[in-house]
Symmetry: D3
Subunit: 315 residues, 6 copies
C-alpha cells in the first residue's frame, strides 16, 4: 500500500486504497482476512443506471484512505491482510446469469474464510453474494441499511431486479429472515400492504424515523439481539443516505442519513461476527463533479474493513 | 398512473408522477381533488435564473413517486383524484402580465374547489396564485417556508420581483397578514429595520433558529393557532432547505433545513385546511447532474398532495 | 403545436417539438403521416448506459423546432400530419422481450402507412422496429449512419445487444443486405476479418474516410442506387457524429462527423422512399449541461420528418 | 496588464485580459482606443437564460490572452489603449428600461471616439448599443454573425426580445439596412415568408451554406462592398458557432461554424472602419465545466480589439 | 458597495460582496478595519487541485451578501470599513517562495492594524499569513476548524505542504501551541501515534465527535479559555464541513459539519480578539454547477467580518 | 487483455486498454515492444490544474480499444507486446525533482529498447522523458503537436514549467533542434519576437494555418525530411486539438484540430522510427461529464502504439 509521505496516493493503477491487487481466482489462496471485489453490473436498476461504474469510482475515491482507524484503534489495511481482488466478470443484460457468476466467483473466497466486501453494482448483485455465503455458512443473518426493503415480487415480469433481491434471497433460503433486519426504510409505496408483505417474510423493518430516534448503540443492540450468534451479512445500499450526501445513486430518496450518521451506525457494530459485506448502488454519472457518493461508499467500505480488523485482532 | 411493476415508471411523456394530463382549460370540470400546474417563469429573479425549467425538472424527478403514503396512511394519487394540468402560458420578460395570466388560468380551478399545486418558476408567480385564491376564498392565511421574507419594496424600480411578492400580496389584500406566518428566515439584510418593516405588515416571521429549536409538532401548533379556521395557502420556496439539499435554486442561503426536516414540517400540517400550494425556485441548470433539488421539490409536492388526501379522506 | 410568438415554446408537458400527444395504441387511427415513438431502453449497451433517458432528453431539446424547413421548402410539422405517440412500454433487463414489445407496438402504425420515427434507447431497439417494418413491407433496405457495423455474433453470450442488432436483423430476414449500406464506420476491431464478416452478410460498409471524401450528393446517389426502389429504413446512431458534437452517447468514437455534415447527409436523401426512421444511443447523463447531443438528435429527427414531408407533399 | 512571467495571470480581481479597470462613467475621459463593457442582462431570451453571467465568465476565460497578435502583427492590449469599464447597471425584468440604460451609459464613450466592445448579455442589449452608436455616428452599417436574423415582430406581445432586436433597430433608424448584412443564418422557421420579411427590411441575409462555401476573404470583400465607407458595427451572437464549439448559449443551433472558422472571418475584416462591437449570448450555466463558450467569446473579443489596433496603428 | 435595490448585485467586476477594490500595496494606508485578500495558490495540495481558483469563486458567490447581520446586530460591510485588496502575486510550483510573498504582502496590513481575511488557496498559504501576523503581534493563538491537523512532518520530502503547515508554523514560533486549538479532526491515519505527535507539539486537538457533542457556546468557552487574552488567528479549512455541504475541496472527509453548524460555531466566537482570518481549500472545479462550497466559504468570510465589526463596534 | 465478447471491457482494475500491468521496475525485463507509463504531475501548469488525474482518466476512457487497427492493418495490442507499467512516483510541488524521478524511472526501459508511451501530466514531464531518451539514444528529433511552442525562458522565476520545457530540453542537449519540429502553433503572444526566439533555438515552428493548409501526407513528408534517419520522439499536447474536441485541458486555445485531423496526422507518420511518445495536458475536472478529452487522448495513445506495431512488424 502506498504511503503519501513517499509518493502521492493518487499514483498508480487504481486499487481500493492502494491495496495490492490479487486476481480473484487466486485471492482465496493468499490467506487474506478480507478481499475487495467489484461487481460492475447495473442491468437490474429501475431508474437511473450507471452503477456498473461504481467499483471504478469507489476505487478512485478511496486513494486517501490510510490504515489506522483512530476511533476503533485498529490497523485496518495493514500487513497484507486485505487485498483488492478486482472485479467479477458478469453479463450485462442478464441478471440471472450474472448472479451465478458472482456466486461462483465468491464461493472459494467464502470457503477460505476470507470476508468478501463487494463494491456494487446495483443491489441485485447481492443474490449471488448471498448464494456464496449460504453455501459456506448456511443461511445468514442480514443487516441491511437501505431506503427500500427490496422485497417486491417482480418488475414488469422480471423476477431478479434490484427491488426484488431480498425476496429472492429469502425464497432461496439464503438468509434467515428471523435473524434479519432492514433499517432506513422510507418513501412512498404502491399500497398499504406493501411493507406488511415484507414483514410477512419474517423480516424486521426499521423505518428511518425509528432509526434516527435512537442512538447508534441502540441500533447495534437491536442488531446483536436480532442476529444472535450466527454469521451476519452487512449490506449498505448507499441510498440509505440522504441525497445531499449521496446524490449519485439509482433511486435517491429524500429524508435519509447524513454521512456521519451512516458511519456511526457502522462503527457501532464492532464485535458482530460478519462474514460478508457489500456497498451498492453508487452511480458515478450522477455523482460528478464532486464524486461525494463514491467517497462516502469508500468510507463505508473502510468502516466495514475495520470491523473485520476488530474481529480479527487487527489492532 | 403507471405501475412500475408493469412498465418502467420512466416510460412516457413526463407528467407529475405519471398522472393523467388534462389541459388546464378543462381541469376544473373533471372533479379532481387537486391539480398540478406548472408556471415556467423566471424573469423576476435577482441572482441565478433557470426556474423556468423547474416544472420540467420536477416532473422528470417525480417518476418514482407511488400512491401510498406510509406515514399518513393515505392514497395520495389514486382514482383520478389528482391530475397534471400542464403549464400556464406566461410571458417571459413581463412579470405583471404573467401574474395576470396565472390568476386567470387558476381562477376556474379555485372556483371548482380543486386545490391547485403550482410548480414554479420563481417566487413572483405566487402573486397570480394568490389573486386566484383570494378571488375564490377571500384573503387567505399564508404559511410560507422560505429563507427570505420577500417583502422588499422594489428591486431597481421593479415592483413585482421574487423578493417583493409577499408585500405586493399584502398590499392587494390577497392574504391576511394577521393569520400568516413565514418560517425559515435567515441571511444578511440591508439594514436593521428590514425585518421590522416586514413585521409591520402584520406578518409573523420565524427565524430559522427558532424553527429548528422546536419539534415539527410545535410548528404545526403555531400554524394552527395563527391560521385559525380560515383557508390556508402553503408555500415552499425551496431555498428554505440547505444548499446541500437544494443546490439548484436562485438564491441559496446557508444554514437551512435538511430534506428530512422540511418533509417533517409538511407532514405535521395534517388537518390544516389548505386551498392552495406551491413549491418554487427550483433552478435545474444549477442542479445537475444529481438533480436532487428537483427530487426534493417533487417530494415536497407529494407531501402537499398527501395533505389534500387527508383532508379529502383519501385513506 | 405551440407558437413561440404566443407563449414560450418551453411551456407545457414535453412532447417532441410541442406536437400533440396521441397514445400509441390510437396513433395508427388518426391518419398521421409520421409519428414520434420513444423507446427508453438501454439494457443492451456495452459501455455507458443512460440511453433510457434519450427520449426524455430529445423531447426536452426539441422545443425550439419550428415547422418550416427553409432548405427543403416544406412544412415539416404542420396540420396534424405528425404526432408524438409517447413511449413503448419495454422491459428493462430483457432485450428479447423488449424487442417483441417494440414490434407489437409499432406493427399497427406500420400497417396504417404512417412512418414511425423512433427515439432510442440503445441500438438494440432497432430489432423490434425492423420486425414491425418487415411485417408490413417485407425485407427493407437499411441505410445506417453509424460508427460501428453492429454485426458482432454476440456479447458475453448475449445474442441481442446493441453491437449485434444488425446481424440479428439479417438472420431474421428483416432487411435485405444487398440493398443495405452502413456508413461512417471507424475505430479499432478485434481482428482483421471483423469487417469482412460483416460484408459476408451482404452488407455494404462505408468507412468514415470514404464518407467524408465525397459530397453528400455522392452519398445520396450511392444510397439511391443501392436501395433501388424498395422501402427504406434510415437509422442514425448518434455516435456517427464526432464526440465533440455528440459527447452524450454510449460508445463515442473519435474522428466522426460534425453536426453540419450529419445534417447535410440527411438532407441529401430527399426523395428516397423511407418507411421508418430511428435515432439512437443518446445518453443524457454524459451530455450535461449543454445537452448538445440531445439537440443534435432532435435536429436529426426533424430532418427525418422533413423527408416524410417531401415524400408526402408537405411543402 | 499582468505578465504571466511575473505572476500568474489568474491572479487578481477579474478584468478582461487583466486590463486596468476604469469605471464607465470616467472611461470616456481617459482617451482609450477601446473599452470593454459588460451588459449582464438576460431577461429577453426565449429559451435558456444565464447570459447575465456572460460578462463574468468571459472575463474569467480571458486571463490567458496576451498582447501581441501574431497574425496581424499588432499590439492589441498595450500601452493603456484598452481598458475594462465594468458593467452597465441594467434592470432585470425590464428590457426597455435596460436598453435606455445601456444607451445612456455608452453615449459618452461613443462621443469620445473610443470603440465600445460589449460583452452580453442576450442579444436584446444591442438596441441600447445601436442607439448610442447612431447618436454619435448616425445610422451604422451592421455586420452580424448570427444563426438567427432576430427580425421577428414580437414574442408573446413583447416587442423588445432577443429575437426582435434587429427589427427594432431598423425601425428606429439606428442602422442602415442597405449597408447591413447578417451571416450564418440557419435553422427551422415558422413559415416560408419569414426570411423574406427580414429581407424586406432591406437587410442582406447570408445563409450558413453560403458563408461556408467561400473563403473568409470573399466574406470580407462582400462586407466591404456592402458597408461602403460608413461606420460599421460588428456583432457576434455566439450561436453562430456550432454547439460543439459553443454549447453554453441560449438558443444553440446545429450546423454552425467551428471556432477556427469564426476567428478567421473576423481576421478577414482587417481594415474595415468599425465603431462598435459586441459578442452576446454566452450562457455560463450551460458551459460548465470546460467553459469553452466563454473562452471562444473571449477570443472573439480579442480579435475585435485587434481590429481596432490595426485601424489605430497599434502594430 | 452595490445595493440590489438600485442595480443587480451581479453587476460589475467581481469583488468580495461588491466591496471597493483597493490594491494591496495601498490597502494598509486607507484605515480599513478589515481587508479581503486572495491567495490563488494550490501547488501544495495532496489530492485534488483547483484551490487557485478559490478566490475567484468565493468572490463570485459573495454577490448577494448584504451589510446588516441580523443575529449579531451589526453593520458588517458598511462605511468603507472593509475593502477587497485583490490577490497576492504568488509563485505556482514554489510553496516556499509563495509563503514569502504572502508574508511580505500582508506585513504592512498587519502593521496598520487592519485585519486581513485571506481567501485561499490551499492550506499552505497560512504559513505566510502567520509569519506576517507573528511579525506584528508575536506568536498568535490559533483557532482552526479543520478535518485534519495538518501537522505531518513532510510529504514525499516536501516540507511545506498543505498537510504540514501547522507543524512548520509551530517550529517557526509563529503560533503558540499552548494557546491553540484545532477542532473537527476526523478520518483515518497512518499510525496510532499520528495525533499524539500533533499533541506533542502542544496543540489541543478536538475530534469531530467532541465538537458536535456540545453546543457552540461550549466550544466558544473552550476557545476563550485556551486563547486567553492574546491575539487570535481564526482559520477555517472548508473541509471541516461535510462533503454534502462542501463537495468542492481538495481532501473532503465524510462525517463533517453542516453549513449551519459551521456558521454557528463562528458566531459563538463574538468578542474574541481576532487579528487575522482565513478560509481555505475551496476547489471550484469540484464545486460545479451549484458552487455551494464557494457560497459557504463566502458566508464563512462574512461571519468573520462580522466578528471584526463586533470588536470594532460596527453595530 | 480482456475480450468484450467474454466479459464487459469495463470489468476489472483499470489499465490502459485492459493490458496486463507490470510494475515499471520490472517492465524493462519482459521484452515488451512498448509500455504505457503514467506521470500524474501537474504542478507546472500556468492556468487550470488537474492533469495529475490524466493517467487515471485516460485509462478509464481506453476500455473500449481493441487490438486490430483497420487502417494500418496491424495488431496493436496483441501477444504481450505492450504492457501498462503503472505510474512514476513523482513529487507534487517539485518539478525539478519530479523530472529526475521520471528520467530515472524510464532509463532502464529506454535502455531495453522498449518504447515508453507516457500519459501526462502537464507538459513539464517531458523533460524527464527526454533525459531518459537522450541517455539511451543521444539527442533525439522532436515532433511535437502543440498549440504552444513551450519555449519561454521562465514563469515568475520558475525555470521548469509546462511552458518552458522545450527550451530546457534544448539547453540540456536532449533534443536536436535542427531535426525537430513543432506544429499547431497559435494564440496570442507577449511580443513580436516571441516565436523568433523559439526559432533562434533552431526549432522549426509550423503555425496551425500552415498545418491545416496541406494534407497529412505533406506533414509526414516534412517530418521525415526534418527528422532524417535519427531516433524520433513524438509528443502530443492535447491542446493542439480544438477546445470542442479537447475541453479538458490546462490551456485550451481556440482554432485547433478536430479529433479526426489529429488522428490522421499521427497515422501519416507510419514508418518513422520513433523511440518515445507522450500525450500530455489532459485535465479531467474540466472534461466531465463526457470525458471526451480523455477519450481522444486514449485514441492518440492507441495510434502511437500502432506506429510501434508497424515498425515492429505487428501486422
Amino acid at each position: 500500500m502506498s504511503d503519501a509521505r513517499e509518493a502521492p496516493r493518487y499514483t498508480g493503477v487504481r486499487t481500493f486504497a492502494g491495496l495490492d491487487h490479487v486476481a480473484l481466482a487466486r485471492a482465496n489462496a493468499v490467506g487474506a482476512r478480507a478481499a475487495i471485489v467489484g461487481v460492475p453490473f447495473d442491468t437490474a436498476t429501475s431508474w437511473r443506471p450507471g452503477a456498473r461504474f461504481g467499483p471504478e469510482a469507489i476505487r478512485g475515491a478511496s486513494v486517501l484512505l490510510r490504515g489506522w482507524h483512530p476511533v476503533h484503534g485498529v490497523d485496518v489495511l495493514g500487513s497484507g491482510a486485505v487485498l483488492d481482488a478486482g472485479d467479477v466478470a458478469i453479463t450485462p443484460g442478464n441478471a440471472q446469469r450474472s448472479s451465478e457468476q458472482v456466486a461462483a466467483a465468491l464461493a472459494p473466497l467464502c470457503a477460505s474464510g476470507a470476508v468478501p466486501l463487494v463494491l456494487g453494482g446495483d443491489h441485485s448483485v447481492a443474490l449471488g453474494e448471498l448464494r456464496a455465503q449460504a453455501g459456506a455458512h448456511g443461511p445468514v443473518a442480514l443487516v441491511l441499511l437501505d431506503a427500500h426493503a427490496d422485497t417486491w415480487e417482480d418488475y414488469y415480469g422480471e423476477r431478479l431486479f434490484h427491488g426484488t433481491v431480498i425476496r429472492r434471497a429469502v425464497e432461496e433460503g439464503l438468509l434467515d429472515p428471523r435473524r434479519s433486519l432492514i433499517a432506513g426504510i422510507r418513501g412512498p409505496l404502491y399500497a398499504a400492504e406493501d411493507l406488511e408483505q415484507a414483514r410477512a417474510l419474517g423480516l424486521e423493518l426499521v423505518p428511518i424515523e425509528e432509526l434516527r430516534r435512537s442512538p447508534p448503540s441502540a441500533f447495534a443492540a437491536r442488531v446483536r439481539e436480532r442476529t444472535a450468534a450466527g454469521p451476519v451479512f452487512v449490506g449498505v445500499d448507499i441510498d440509505v443516505a440522504d441525497p445531499s450526501a449521496a446524490p449519485g445513486t439509482g433511486t435517491p430518496e429524500v429524508g435519509g442519513l447524513s454521512s456521519g450518521e451512516l458511519i456511526d451506525l457502522l462503527r457501532a457494530l464492532a464485535g458482530v461476527r460478519v462474514v460478508g459485506f457489500d456497498v451498492v448502488e453508487v452511480s458515478p454519472p450522477y455523482d460528478a463533479p464532486g464524486q461525494i457518493t463514491a467517497l462516502l461508499a469508500a468510507n463505508v467500505a473502510y468502516e466495514m474493513l475495520a470491523l473485520t480488523a476488530i474481529a480479527g485482532g487487527g489492532g
